[in-house]
Amino acid sequence: MAGGRAEGYQSRQAELSGWPVRISSWRLAERWRCEVDNVDPGAVIARAEGTTREAAETAACEKAAARLARTRTF
């Protein structure tokens, strides 16, 4: 990609490993990109790319769930 525009930008909230997350995905050139953040404060904790939105989101969510599962509560 030299230049282009993000297309199909979507963002929604869900829950992974018991924590709220926001899943954002969009297509840039031929690749779908996905970022998962932890809503509050909103730090991106996983990102992935794929040939479809579903593939990118699935890969990012798997990474995010693994990281979130390590969060301790007191």
Binding site: A6, Y9, S11, E35, D40, P41, R70, T71, F74
Partner: protein, 279 residues
Amino acid sequence: MGSYAHPEMLVETEWVAGRLDDRNLRLVEVDVDTGSYDSGHLPGAIAWNWTTQLCDTLRRDILPKDAFEMLMAESGIGNDTTVVLYGDNNNWFAAWALWQMKIYGHKDVRLMNGGRKKWLAEGRELTDEVPAVPARSYAASAPDAALRAMMPEVQGLMGSASMVDVRSPDEFTGKILAPPGLPETCQRGGHIPAAKNIPWGQACNEDGTFKSFDELKSLYEGKGIRGDVPVIAYCRIGERSSHTWFALKYLLGYPDVRNYDGSWTEWGNMVGAPVERGA
């Protein structure tokens, strides 16, 4: 309806889109996720990595003056350059960079309202090309200590300043030691006694832009933060609180707002420091 105290500190995405070829404008992306820039950024924008370029990498501190001057010069920024900062997560680290630029006296630095998220959502132009920028000379001012709170000042102002803890309620109460999915960086959970919990994101609309003057005034005044005494904002490492610092200082116009960048990673690790838990 009131208006921002310093509306010139914010620019809209449309304003930026119309000035991508402006040679006296330097666009700089500063992300929490330092890989975001490589996945597509605003045409002509350069990037600063907050983990290596916006801090002293030996001791824990902001950039020393000479390193700041070098960063500006290498970024093609002169003292007269208009700098527009933007980034992911509603401009978290863009605000952190702006705070440092104001500490060193840069005159014209602004945030792109809504940041990277809004630009993406609007389907605006992106590129993966990294521009070559001509170096400039840059002379920073002596650091403005009034914009920053160091730990002894925070201790000294307990009881007389307004402390704003901008972390999430779970961090504030001590339920968690770090935001979900991020490394734990403190020994104790909780907050500075008497601090008010106003999570930074409450200052934002869903599209990442700042709420209106009236909404911000209601949000902070509703928690007793009126700006009639010094205000100290803190979070975990000082970046979320930069965002709140920006809102309080430039959008509401409070006269004495300081960012305590030592934040909870300092306070929550300090032997003997008073800590409150719970809401």
